[in-house]
């Protein structure tokens, strides 16, 4: 008995030692999901990108607000409208000690198209690139297919790998499987890879030979905690130092705790309702004698005016949202100044508009919504349904798990659906092009336009803007396009989600528009 007890005591002591608080230089982050791969060119997915950006670095990066700034490329200039010369920073080495050269850049950009089986390929960011060549050891020339002002925005997403470390027998060099094991995972970034257990901790270590300012942390542990309530509880208990995406229900609790705080960032992802404006016989609409009232501008305006965006932002989103009058945030390049703030809700005017359109008695509609994909998505949809019902448009909500919802949407099973778009270019042109340009699969236009809004005037403006290199002229074209679409009520913006992070009270993090959690940017307050 005494043996057992002392044995138990010893093992308990050992266990306690093993779980003793991590040393002061460790940063533990509770993430909302883990990366699908460590291959920086396998899957365009936020959890992957933010890990890539800790180990690797692209030629240029975006600051917290989304503005482009130099990183591995110190400067660049246009040799011709389609030829960009990037000058690499001197004295940068990979974490294995080899110097960064133009050959590494050529290798990395060439590798993108060779990575097989990618769920969302990085070719999204190289489709405008016709060729990449090394002019000398520190100069890279990138040729685009046409004049393409957004090249630097694409390059932000393309981290540079080490040619020496990532070469291999496969066409793409080191395969995704090898990189997932950490083989060839050598970058110039502030951290190096230590270990990754799928479903559990991903551990990074400070890169001792980093060329830039050293991060505040010796070790970073990224721990996937999919349940937001679990993340909040872990932060409040001190098990983690930082958490992604504070659930609206926990905001008060974290703010009221002396050891924790919340930082929230610039409005980012837009939540909107798209409307079927193509088919006459649209699923989910009834009481209209087979007509599709969503084709009538007054009806769309009525639906827009019925939505109390302030109410949704404050009551449903707990303040973690900003009402949207356009698909682009107010500070986004190309957002029309007239639509930065949505027109206030006006149910009486909405009812009047329905009357004018010949639908004074209303009609019935089903609003599709994902459940659990965006912050409080199904609740937002229900609230919109309540507001529409009040003006006489009897609305049912069909909320489904994300995979089911997206399958239904792509099969166009909804006449109205709530969805979202995250803009990664900082320009409204990409959002409008994906959501409202006339659907054309081959040209890659209107790729997310399941409402099939089509307006030749808008298409012309967007196409013109995409070729305009002059920023002022492009901004003007985009603002015109935005104003055109919004005053036609082509789509109904609801709000912008405001990303938030929970932190230990003595830490600082600048909330980022791209919603990435970058451990190198987490600092201790003085």
């Amino acid at each position: 008995m005494s043996f057992t007890r002392s044995h138990l005591f010893a093992s308990t002591a050992a266990l306690l030692l093993a779980c003793s608080p991590v040393s002061a230089e460790d940063l533990v982050i509770g993430t909302k999901s883990e990366p699908s791969s460590l291959d920086p060119q396998f899957h365009v997915l936020s959890p992957n990108m933010q890990v890539s950006l800790a180990i690797f670095e692209p030629l240029v990066r975006q600051d917290a607000q989304g503005a482009i700034e130099p990183l591995l490329a110190e400067s660049w200039e246009l040799a011709s409208p389609t030829e960009w010369d990037f000058h690499l920073r001197e004295g940068v080495t990979f974490s294995d000690g080899t110097p960064l050269t133009a050959q590494d850049v050529v290798f990395s950009l060439d590798r993108v198209a060779k990575v097989p089986n990618s769920p969302t390929p990085f070719t999204l960011f190289t489709r405008q690139i016709a060729g990449v060549e090394a002019l000398d050891d520190t100069t890279v020339r990138i040729t685009t297919k046409q004049a393409y002002p957004n090249l630097t925005v694409d390059l932000v997403n393309l981290p540079i790998m080490s040619k020496a470390a990532a070469s291999g027998d496969a066409p793409e060099g080191r395969t995704t499987t090898e990189l997932n094991r950490g083989e060839g995972l050598i970058g110039t970034g502030p951290f190096t890879f230590v270990s990754w257990q799928k479903g559990a901790d991903l551990i990074l270590e400070a890169n001792t030979s980093y060329w830039g300012e050293a991060p505040d942390w010796d070790r970073v542990i990224m721990r996937p905690m999919t349940n937001p309530a679990t993340r909040s509880a872990a932060l409040l208990a001190g098990d983690i130092d930082m958490m992604e995406d504070v659930p609206t229900g926990s905001v008060g609790q974290i703010e009221g705790d002396a050891n924790a705080k919340i930082v929230s960032g610039p409005p980012a992802r837009v939540i909107f309702i798209a409307l079927d404006q193509e088919r006459d016989d649209s699923p989910g609409i009834s009481g209209t004698d087979g007509e599709n009232p969503l084709k009538i501008k007054e009806v769309r305006e009525a639906l827009f005016r019925a939505i109390d965006r302030e109410g949704i932002a404050s009551r449903v989103m707990g303040g973690a949202a900003v009402p949207a009058g356009s698909l682009g945030t107010p500070n986004m390049f190309g957002t029309s100044a007239d639509h930065e703030v949505p027109a206030p809700a006006d149910p009486e005017r909405a009812a009047q508009l329905l009357e004018e359109a010949g639908y004074g008695d209303g009609f019935s509609i089903t609003l599709g919504s994902p459940s659990g994909r965006y912050v409080n998505d199904a609740r937002v949809a229900q609230t919109v349904a309540a507001m529409w019902s009040r003006i006489g448009v009897k609305t049912a909500v069909d909320a489904a798990a994300a995979p089911v919802f997206f399958k239904n949407r792509d099969h166009r099973a909804y006449s109205a659906y709530l969805a979202s778009w995250g803009n990664n270019t900082g320009e409204i042109g990409t959002t409008l092009g994906a959501q409202l340009a006339t659907y054309d699969k081959d040209a890659g236009q209107g790729s997310a336009n399941a409402g099939r809004y089509s307006n030749p005037e808008l298409d012309a403006l967007l196409s013109e803007a995409s070729k305009t290199m002059d920023d002022d002229a492009r901004a003007k074209l985009l603002e015109e396009a935005d104003a055109l679409a919004m005053s036609d009520f082509a789509i109904l913006p609801i709000h912008f989600e405001v990303p938030s992070w929970g932190l230990r009270a003595d830490l600082e993090y600048e909330a980022r528009a791209d919603q990435f959690t970058l451990p190198q940017n987490v600092t201790r307050s003085e």
Binding site: A229, S232, A233, P247, T248, G249, S250, V251, G252, Q253, D308, G311, I312, R315, V316, S371, G372, A378, R379, A381, Q382, T383, A385, A386, M387, S389, R390, K394, T395, A396, V397, D398, A399, A400, A401, V404
Partner: protein, 306 residues
């Protein structure tokens, strides 16, 4: 619940003098069973009268005001004409009204599903028992296969194929539950098949259908009724589980399970009432059914009766 003793007395009528009176008397001798019955009546009656007794119609979403959401119990609505006795949820539904309406949905789903499963399962079980041989083998192996899958998994798969809706939940629950009834019906019918009255009916060369449904069925009913009662509780919890997972009833017409799920996210911020009260209602109704069902089983068990 009162229909069960009446239907149960039919088979017993030939054996005892006043079986119905016996069952009623025995039932009311047990204070726990009476307690269960009181809970059940106390919950089901107001929920079926919900449109008349509930302060608000939570399914008429046009009347919900988002600024009344997440109010604590005993708050007054912004318009001042409703008192939210149990508070409001995240969609500004009065929790009391939502519970009454939600319970009605839960009960309708459970009753229909159990009735459907009872009907199909009993028919299959009787046919298997009466005909025996190949028919029996095929039917009972189907039951075995069905029972080898976890019930909730089958329901999940079915609902993801069929889509949302109260009718679909009912179908899914029938598919999940009929096999239990089939197995029980078969085993009690096999006993009956060799009884003298069935042999007598056969010797009169009565049709199979008449023998099965007029002669055997009444005598196989008691165990089935007991199972049906217990299964009712299962069906309610299964429906709550499915709705909790977000694939049952539509979000705008929440059942008890969905109400609990909706309130889940508010628990962390101390808004306990959104989940707690529907949770209590669910627990009470399942408890009530189980108490009544358990005692009914004791009474209807022939071994206890003698």
């Amino acid at each position: 619940m009162t229909v069960q003793p009446t239907s149960a007395d039919r088979p017993a009528r030939t054996r005892a003098d006043t079986p119905f009176r016996r069952i009623v008397r025995q039932f009311f001798e047990n204070p726990l069973a009476v307690f269960g019955l009181i809970i059940l009546v106390g919950l089901t009656v107001p929920s079926f009268l919900a449109p008349w007794v509930a302060p608000q119609n939570p399914y008429d979403i046009g009347t919900l005001d988002i600024f009344d959401s997440q109010l604590p119990p005993l708050s007054t609505s912004s318009s001042g004409d409703i008192t939210y006795w149990l508070g409001t949820d995240g969609q500004a539904r009065d929790v009391l009204s939502a519970i009454l309406y939600g319970m009605r949905t839960s009960l309708i789903v459970a009753f229909s599903a159990v009735a459907g499963a009872l009907f199909i399962g009993t028919a299959v079980g009787l046919i298997a028992a009466y005909f025996g041989g190949v028919v029996d083998a095929i039917l009972m192996r189907t039951v075995d296969i069905q029972l080898s899958f976890p019930a909730i998994l089958v329901a999940l798969v079915l609902l993801s194929v069929l889509g949302q809706g109260i009718d679909k939940v009912i179908i899914a629950l029938i598919v999940v539950q009929w096999a239990y009834f089939a197995r029980t019906a078969r085993s009690s019918a096999i006993v009956e098949r060799n009884r003298e009255y069935v042999l007598a009916a056969r010797s009169l060369s009565l049709g199979s259908r008449r023998i099965i449904f007029r002669h055997m069925l009444p005598n196989t009913m008691p165990p089935l009724i007991v199972i049906a009662t217990i299964d009712l509780a299962h069906a309610i919890t299964a429906e709550a589980t499915l709705s909790f997972l977000g694939i049952g009833v539509p979000v705008t017409e929440p059942s008890l399970g969905m109400l609990i799920a909706n309130g889940f996210e508010f628990m962390m911020s101390g808004e306990y009432w959104i989940s707690l009260f529907p949770g209590i209602a669910l627990t009470l109704i399942v408890l009530g059914i189980n108490l009544v069902g358990d005692h009914l089983r004791d009474i209807l068990n022939p071994r206890n009766a003698q």
